[in-house]
């Protein structure tokens, strides 16, 4: 990385880090539950996914707001930071649509629910990866 990029590294606030990281296992859990439902037709798996997704939305939603506020307040506008924000935004929007798709009764949610869960989980992983690499905690060490 260039010296300029180095200079733009700020520590990721611990709370922001927790919010960001927490969304990943929730969306991943939803994905695994969707896979289990699609394989077994056991509705309880779908109920699990239906609760895990709003959980992921709460954490990623607050992380998104936090990142937005920081972007405005700290004028931290490196390309990667904006990309991080866009990834988080995409995660949240598709995650929200995924929650609505999961509210369709029984198998009516399939296969869209599974497809969206794959995409949302991938986006959440990418956003978290990018968030932690560009806004590295303990920067300068």
């Amino acid at each position: 990385m260039s010296a300029q990029a180095q200079a733009e590294r700020y520590p990721l606030h611990p709370f922001h880090a927790v919010l960001l990281a927490s969304a990943v296992p929730l969306f991943l859990g939803a994905l695994l539950s969707d896979i289990a439902y699609s394989q077994s037709y056991q509705l309880q798996w779908k109920n699990f996914a239906s609760w895990l997704i709003p959980g992921g939305l709460i954490f990623s939603g607050i992380a998104l707001l936090w990142a937005l506020v920081e972007l405005v307040r700290l004028r931290r506008r490196a390309l990667l930071t904006i990309l991080y924000l866009l990834l988080l935004l995409a995660t949240w929007l598709l995650g929200f649509i995924n929650a609505l798709v999961h509210a369709k009764d029984a198998w009516a949610s399939m296969p869209m629910a599974l497809i969206l869960s794959v995409i949302v989980t991938a986006l959440a992983c990418a956003a978290t990866w990018l968030g932690f690499s560009t806004l590295r905690t303990g920067a300068g060490r």
Binding site: L43, K46, L100, H102, D105, A106, W107
Partner: protein, 450 residues
């Protein structure tokens, strides 16, 4: 309340909402209703009744007919029974309480509750008496209490059968009685686990040997899992003496009202079909109930139209599914059914009355009225005719929601209204003019002309 879910912070998503199909050229009722392709947007269509007061208003009835509120301030009246002496029994209560398994259950439950009464269910039977036959039911007693969401009622000789949400019970009854002489005797338990559709409808065979109990499904379309549907979505035949029971007909999603056709002794049912696949799917219906028949739920609807929301599928069951007799229209929520008598006036002499509670999953809404389906040669013939309407205004203000309908052989229709907690009585022209006619005379007399 219009599209409440659209308040969610996703204005951009609104474009993805289901576009309502144009229903103007579609056949919505009768023997061969049009069945459009299933469709659902990201949000289910929700158009919930907004409760209002009756004030001086009254429901609309055909010209010459009279409607009066014969009992108000009840505790959620559902079904009624006209006893031989003319007394009326009212079953009051609210059952259900199925667990909310996912976020949708929580949100939809809150929204739908806005369209119902806030009164607590009475869990009782109220008796109404018009001793002098002037059309005013001046005596009101609590016939029985501490029941569990009573719904279906049937009288066989000196036995009064009540279908609670969890058991079929029996009271002794003698004419003139205003209070039960003791606690009821249990005939048999009824399926009550979860009780998503909790109402247990009831009818007695003409010889009184059997009782038929309608048991609704435990979900809209198996979203609580297949195992929740054991002993659900069917009509039981119960031995009145022993309580022994067996499925009489299956695949009936929610058989909310049962009635025996006079003359033939044939069992008929009003059935509520599945939601969330479009404004004109799936038609609620009335049908003569064929013993041993499978009517489709959950695997298929209106015969053999496969419902792809159900997994695992069952092609064999689909192949065996038969079509019901007569579509009332999708989402009308038929909750009451009774056969008419000549004393109801010539226009309404032959056919059935159907109480339609009204839709939540359709915009524009449907139901919220009592219709008459004319019969010819014992079969439905012709479109449904409004008999009692005016429960809901164009702006969504809803003053009442009809449930049970019961024909008084003296020439009146008793309508239970579970939103305004009222019992309405609609009298035929001749009957209202001679309101004090004893029941024996009108029953043996010639059919009255309007």
């Amino acid at each position: 309340m219009r599209k409440p879910l659209a308040l969610l912070p996703a204005a951009a998503l609104l474009g993805l909402l289901a576009a309502c199909g144009d229903a103007s050229d579609q056949q919505l009722y009768g023997q061969n209703p049009d069945l459009p392709d299933p469709h659902r947007g990201l949000f289910p269509t929700m158009e919930i009744a907004r409760p209002g007061e009756w004030g001086d208003r009254r429901p609309t009835v055909p010209e010459g007919y009279t409607i009066t509120a014969i009992a108000t301030d009840l505790q959620i009246p559902r079904q009624t029974l006209v006893l031989p002496g003319g007394d009326i029994l009212v079953a009051e209560g609210r059952g259900g309480g199925a667990p909310r398994l996912n976020p949708k259950d929580v949100i939809a439950g809150i929204i739908k509750a806005k369209g119902t009464t806030s009164v607590a269910g009475g869990n009782r039977l109220t008796l109404l008496r018009d001793a002098d036959g002037d059309g005013t039911y001046e005596t009101r007693t609590i016939f029985a209490e501490d029941l569990n969401a009573p719904y279906g009622l049937a009288l066989v000789g000196n036995h009064l059968f009540v279908a609670n949400q969890d058991a079929l019970v029996r009271f002794d009854y003698r004419p003139g009685q205003t209070r039960a002489s003791g606690p009821p005797i249990k005939i048999t338990d009824l399926p009550s686990e979860i009780n998503h559709h909790w109402t247990k409808s009831l009818a007695a065979s003409p010889d009184g040997r059997f009782l038929y109990v309608g048991i609704g499904s435990n979900s809209n379309i198996t979203e609580r899992g297949m195992t929740a549907e054991v002993d659900r979505a069917m009509i039981w035949q119960v031995d009145a003496e022993t309580g022994a029971h067996r499925p009489y007909a299956t695949g009936l999603r929610n058989p909310t009202a049962l009635a025996i056709q006079p003359g033939t002794g044939q069992l008929w049912a009003a059935v509520n079909e599945r939601d969330e696949i479009g404004p004109n799917l799936v038609p609620d219906y009335i049908t003569s109930v064929r013993e041993g028949a499978f009517y489709g739920w959950p695997y298929s609807y209106w015969g053999q139209n496969v419902d792809k929301r159900v997994r695992p599928q069952d092609p064999e069951k689909v192949a065996s599914a038969i079509r019901p007799d007569y579509a009332l229209g999708s989402h009308v929520a038929a909750l009451g059914l009774d056969f008419s008598v000549p004393a109801m006036g010539s226009r309404f002499a032959q056919g059935v009355f159907v109480g339609e509670h009204g839709s939540w999953n359709r915009d524009p809404p449907v139901g919220y009225k009592v219709v008459f389906v004319p019969f010819l040669n014992g079969r439905p013939a012709g479109p449904p005719v409004d008999f009692v309407s005016g429960f809901r205004d164009e702006d969504g203000t809803t003053r009442g929601r009809p449930v049970g309908v019961t024909v008084d052989p003296r020439g009146a229709l008793i309508v239970a209204d579970d939103l305004s907690n009222t019992i309405w009585r609609v009298t035929a022209p001749a009957a209202s003019a001679t309101g004090n006619t004893p029941p024996e005379e009108t029953r043996t007399g010639a059919p009255q002309e309007r």
